[in-house]
Amino acid sequence: MNRSSFSAPGVNTDLFQDFPRTFSLYIHVPFCRNKCSYCDFYSLPVKKNTEEFFRTYTAFLGRELDLYGKILSSKRLQSIYLGGGTPSLFSPELLAEVLVKIQDHFSLSAAAEITLEANPESLTEKKIQNYVQLGVNRISLGVQSFQDQELSLLGRCHTADRAHTAAGLLQNSRVNFNIDLIFAFPGHTVKSWSDTLDQALQFAPDHVSIYNLELKKGTPLADQIEAGEREPTTEEIDLQMYKKARFKLIQAGYDHYEISNFAHPDRQSVHNKIYWQYRPYLGLGPAAHGFSGQKRYYNTDSLETYYSRLERGKLPGAEVIDLSKQDLRAEKMMMGLRLLRGVSKEEFADRFAVNLEDVYGLEIEKLKRQGLLGESEKRVFLTDKGIFLGNRVFQEFLP
């Protein structure tokens, strides 16, 4: 792996020549009402709906899109994902500007998925209608929990009630939607988790994502644990919760298709699958990242620098990571095995011009012996045990 600075000679634009005919687009919206107690994403708290402030931001997003419009030779998108942060803070008018700008430069394939992340406090019936009219065809709602006490521990700025309202609105609107839930935070019990899952299922979401809390250094929650003010959950409870969720969701007719994701048939996330299949995407906005299929790049993670670079007509990238053959193969395994279907041997061979067995034969044998990996004629995949111990599996493939 080779890191270089974005402005170093020779790296500026060649990576964008790697992009294939069709790819995906991620747009980062780095604003939230409040900072959650576990959050270490790049997102700035903004107190009011400062339309003016957001307008400046979308204008710069426009400039970034303009630049890519010039550099990229192929511009066909199969999915767009507006993530954050809290994109639902944007008014439909602002979102319209962004979507129009995208279409100035890119064409969308017929069934392109357009996802918008939303938080309950900023979602209204009117907004949903308008978003959908603009072409958004998937909404991902950050509920995290349906218990007030837990929401307050997580530093979320909505109540359980507000979450109900928002989920209800989505259900009625018939838009394809996802509910995000978090488990295994300090003080979390299997009982309340089970209740949260039941409540989520009442809204019949098309897709459910469940994430076990990861404690990130420097977040208030991690600090509290470090200071001994809160007890982290145990591995046993975490496992019980994960199993509980799996059981309930599968019972309710969802496919467990990725380690943390469940969906009704045909409702798997197109955009997220791009990541897991290790395929190219372009990332826009501060702290966004993109992948050309050969190289990865990171945008600057400061809004100020983002603005000032674009002002000077420069791409806001901060770093390009040159991935070696070994890196690419390892990351393909690491991401691909997250999908429970696993990694296709044929696809691997096509992509890297070498057989999976020839590269990772020993690793695969070892993991099979440990009961973590399964193998069929066409694919390798995580076993039930391997799903719980994914890190053990992924590690084996790292160079």
């Binding site: 591995e235 380690i259 990571i321």
Partner: protein
């Protein structure tokens, strides 16, 4: 310089009585260093010395005063570094015996007096820290009389405030004998220390006893007859400073392209290749290490590096020993002998810092004397090599006389601590109205299992500990093995007092359970004496370990986390199929949470 104008002396004392600070004042008075170079305890030049506030290495320095050349050697006070002192004494004619005016004569003061007398040195008693409110020079003088030194000869100083330094320097010139003038004899120089330099090779530090030496001379090491040509000689300022020659009586260094470490030993005599001395100088008594532990490179590939580092470090500290050894658990390493626990700690740290090595260290052990049923007596310094129980007739272990000084309010808990560690009460005396000296006889093995740490915590840091070896005594000892996943781990074997085996076994098993991460399967940990399992705990299997949120597909973040996990695993030692982190091998050292 003519020989009559040379004075060679060292500063000796119990730890912390102010040797290095006194040396500072002497350096200032003689304008040896510029203001810019000067700092507190300037002769403590190693980082480790500065961090810990103690002297570890003896440090020579040359001063000019009133037309005289003074070669001073500052020595360490801690008992673990006494070999540094005895080597320095052999290069001197006189010694400043420093005594803290508030503490009086202590254990190392006494052993230093004996050493100085053995070397026939002119001793100048210096009562230091007279600025302290608690100082009592009259009381110290009475003590001096009791040990046979003339109290009227004692000087009074405050190294802190710089009082009494002129008188001190005058006394050195008047009362320390000049070296004997043997300039015309064939060269004999005593190697009292040495360092390794990657460009120059081994650089011996010498005291010229007979003759003189200059660049271009051919010299011979008398122990092995190797011949070298001298490139450079010089003195210490305290950095090496080149000179035209080293004359009879002087202290300095020799650079002679000595590349082979083994060819230059501390205690050896350097003579002229063309005009050879008949007899080498007496050299040094070998020291006997008291505490042993296994040192292993964390990365097996670093074995050669470790060997090289030990070789080089031994040049600079001849008081530790090492022998190759292998452990099933830890691979190839060395069993090293040290003069004490502090010495062990310092050597490890120097290896890690100066040679950039990562080490796994096994718990320290004393040297046991085992008589087998056949009547054979073996000295065993590695518990893993203990013969089987039924083949042992008798086991003896070293006992020490300890003296603990502490404020009287902590007597209760400290006596309890000593008794829990098989201490036999000897004596208790009030030193002052509220300060007490406690004397106990105790097995050395108890002292080296974190006794000092526990003593400090029971006395809020106020107790001090000194000990001297008393001799060997028979004890009821057994070897205790630790089995991880049913396999004995040799590096975790210990020798314990039979009555304590159960408690210690439980303690170790619990600690191991905390430090060994969960594996993919259940791992039982057992403590056993012979075939008798005395306790068992189980580490549950790892059940869930999978990253979930994969924000915006950021592979790098995930990858970093996985890489860190993998790296951590690599640094562990594999025993059977269990990954054991390196700190586990030290857990047998930390006994209980203070009972």
């Amino acid at each position: 310089m003519e020989v009559e104008k040379i004075r060679n002396f060292c500063i000796i004392a119990h730890i912390d009585h102010g040797k290095s600070t006194l040396a500072d004042r002497i350096l200032e008075k003689t304008d040896t260093l510029s203001d810019r170079e000067m700092k507190d305890q300037v002769l403590d030049s190693m980082d480790l010395e500065r961090e810990r506030g103690i002297t570890i290495k003896a440090q020579p320095v040359r001063l000019l005063y009133d037309g005289f050349e003074l070669n001073l050697i500052d020595t360490p006070g801690h008992v673990d570094f006494s070999y540094e002192v005895s080597r320095s004494l052999a290069a001197c004619e006189g010694a400043l015996l420093v005594i803290d005016a508030a503490q009086g004569i202590e254990a190392q003061t006494m052993s230093n007096i004996y050493l100085a007398l053995e070397h026939d040195l002119d001793i100048i008693p210096v009562i230091n820290k007279i600025d302290l409110d608690a100082s009592d020079p009259e009381w110290v003088k009475e003590q001096l009389l009791e040990v046979g030194l003339d109290p009227d000869e004692a000087l009074l100083t405050s190294a802190k405030e710089g009082t009494g330094i002129d008188a001190l320097l005058e006394a050195v010139i008047d009362r320390v004998s000049p070296p004997r003038d043997n300039s015309s004899k064939p060269l004999r120089a005593l190697v009292f220390d040495s360092v390794y330099d990657s460009y120059q090779g081994v650089i011996p530090y010498v005291r010229i006893i007979d003759g003189e030496i200059a660049p271009g001379d051919k010299i011979k090491m008398m122990s092995n007859n190797n011949v070298y040509e001298v490139d450079e000689v010089g003195s210490f300022s305290p950095q090496m400073r080149e000179a035209d020659s080293l004359k009879c009586g002087e202290v300095g260094y020799i650079i002679a392209g000595i590349k082979e470490i083994r060819n230059c030993r501390v205690g050896d005599t350097v003579t002229g290749a063309h005009r050879e001395a008949k007899e080498p100088l007496p050299g040094y008594k070998e020291v006997k290490p008291m505490v042993f532990s296994g040192l292993y490179p964390s990365e097996n590939n670093d074995y050669e590096l470790l060997k090289e580092a030990l070789d080089k470090l031994q040049l600079n500290d001849a008081s530790f020993t090492f022998e190759p050894e292998t452990s099933e658990a830890l691979g190839y390493g060395f069993r090293c002998g040290f003069l004490g626990l502090l010495h062990m700690e310092i050597i490890q740290e120097r290896l890690e810092r100066e040679y950039d090595l990562d080490l796994v260290v096994t718990a320290p052990s004393v040297v046991y004397r085992v008589t087998t049923s056949q009547g054979e007596v073996k000295e065993i310094e590695n518990p893993a090599l203990f013969p089987e129980k039924n083949k042992i007739e008798k086991i003896e272990e070293p006992f020490v006389n300890t003296e603990i000084k502490l404020p009287d309010e902590y007597i209760g808990p400290v006596m309890e601590l000593c008794e829990n560690n098989r201490g036999e009460f000897e004596d208790m005396q009030y030193l002052t109205r509220d300060r007490v000296s406690l004397k106990y006889n105790m097995p050395l093995s108890e002292i080296i299992t974190d006794f000092f740490g526990r003593l400090k915590s029971r006395s809020r840091g106020y107790a001090t500990l000194d000990y001297t070896i008393e001799g060997y005594r028979a004890s009821d000892l057994v070897k205790m093995d630790i089995l991880v996943n049913k396999e004995p781990v040799d590096a975790l074997s210990t020798v314990v007092y039979e009555d304590d085996a159960y408690n210690i076994g439980q303690d170790i098993a619990k600690k191991l359970k905390e430090v060994i991460p969960r594996q993919m399967f259940k791992v039982p940990i057992q403590a056993a004496v012979g075939s008798n399992v005395i306790c068992r705990v189980t580490i549950p299997a790892r059940k869930k370990d999978v990253l979930q949120k994969c924000y915006g597909g950021d592979v790098s973040r995930k990858r970093k986390l996985l890489e860190r996990q993998k790296e951590g695993k690599k640094r562990m030692k594999q025993v059977g199929s269990v990954d054991i982190p390196q700190e586990a091998f030290m857990t047998i050292l930390e006994r209980g949470s203070d009972e």
